[in-house]
Symmetry: C2
Subunit: 163 residues, 2 copies
């Protein structure tokens, strides 16, 4: 159960999606959580690229599908997927990406390219430790850490005019 995500390089994205869906099925089965058709479809849509997708973008596709969907349909599916660590919400974009470390309860760090919109999720132990230390120094008890870094990904850096 592992997904190797290389959004910044060409990769076989179909395999990427297939893996994510397979992982999701396994995780849900293991937890007795029901990955219903709607939920699975939403997960698949979120995974269609490494660019975050808005709830209403998802909704639009479901509607195209012929699914008689309303906003709560989508938000409920997204809530479910988030609860089970299958997708992350990117607060700075009001949008969602597939989780590349599914199954582990972890707070990722997101590198968000402002040019191509691709997002890379990292787990950076040193960052986590430093954040934890900083919080401790203030006697603050962290529960949820969200780190979003906007900038330029390697590919877009090359394309950019100059620094």
């Amino acid at each position: 159960m592992s997904t190797s995500a290389l959004p910044y390089r060409p990769h076989n994205h179909d395999a990427c999606v297939a893996q994510a869906l397979a992982d999701a099925r396994a995780i849900c089965q293991q937890r007795n959580a029901r990955l219903t058709p709607t939920r699975e479809r939403v997960l698949e849509l979120i995974w269609q690229s490494h660019k975050p997708l808005g709830a209403y973008d998802v909704l639009a596709v479901l509607t195209e599908d012929g699914h008689n969907a309303a906003p709560p349909t989508v938000y409920r599916a997204l809530d479910f997927l988030q609860q089970h660590g299958l997708v992350h919400r990117i607060a700075s974009l009001n949008a969602f990406v597939g989780c590349t470390h599914a199954g582990k309860h972890h707070n990722g760090m997101f590198l968000i390219c402002r040019s191509c919109s691709n997002v890379l999720e990292l787990t950076a132990p040193k960052v986590a430790q430093a954040v934890s230390d900083a919080a401790s120094a203030e006697a603050f008890q962290p529960e949820d850490v969200m780190i979003e870094v906007a900038g330029l990904c390697p590919a877009c850096r090359m394309d950019a005019p100059h620094d």
Copy 2:
């Protein structure tokens, strides 16, 4: 030009606000930016506590003031204040807090208490360094770093039933 912010302890908050406004005036003068009455009033409102305030909360108070304000009035003022580093937007709350390190171009780290809503802004060099290193390792060029930590502040930790 320094504001010592101790939101988690009792402090003379009037002085806190006065200092923030004085700093803001100085910064704007130095930059030839116009801290107009509306902008100053919005800044004052944001500073009325260390709890983030939503744009529509600000709007409501302006309306009470007798100011004939509409959403763009508030959002423009907030944009201005953000551009000059006088307030920060907390993405996870869609709300704004006064910046306790005004004048310096920095990306703060925010400790947000889920119980009392107070926010403490820190500058944690080790965190910044670790984030920068992690980004570099992916050849990513960071431009804007957002770190929001939700949890329990010292005071609310004590009040809480138990761990």
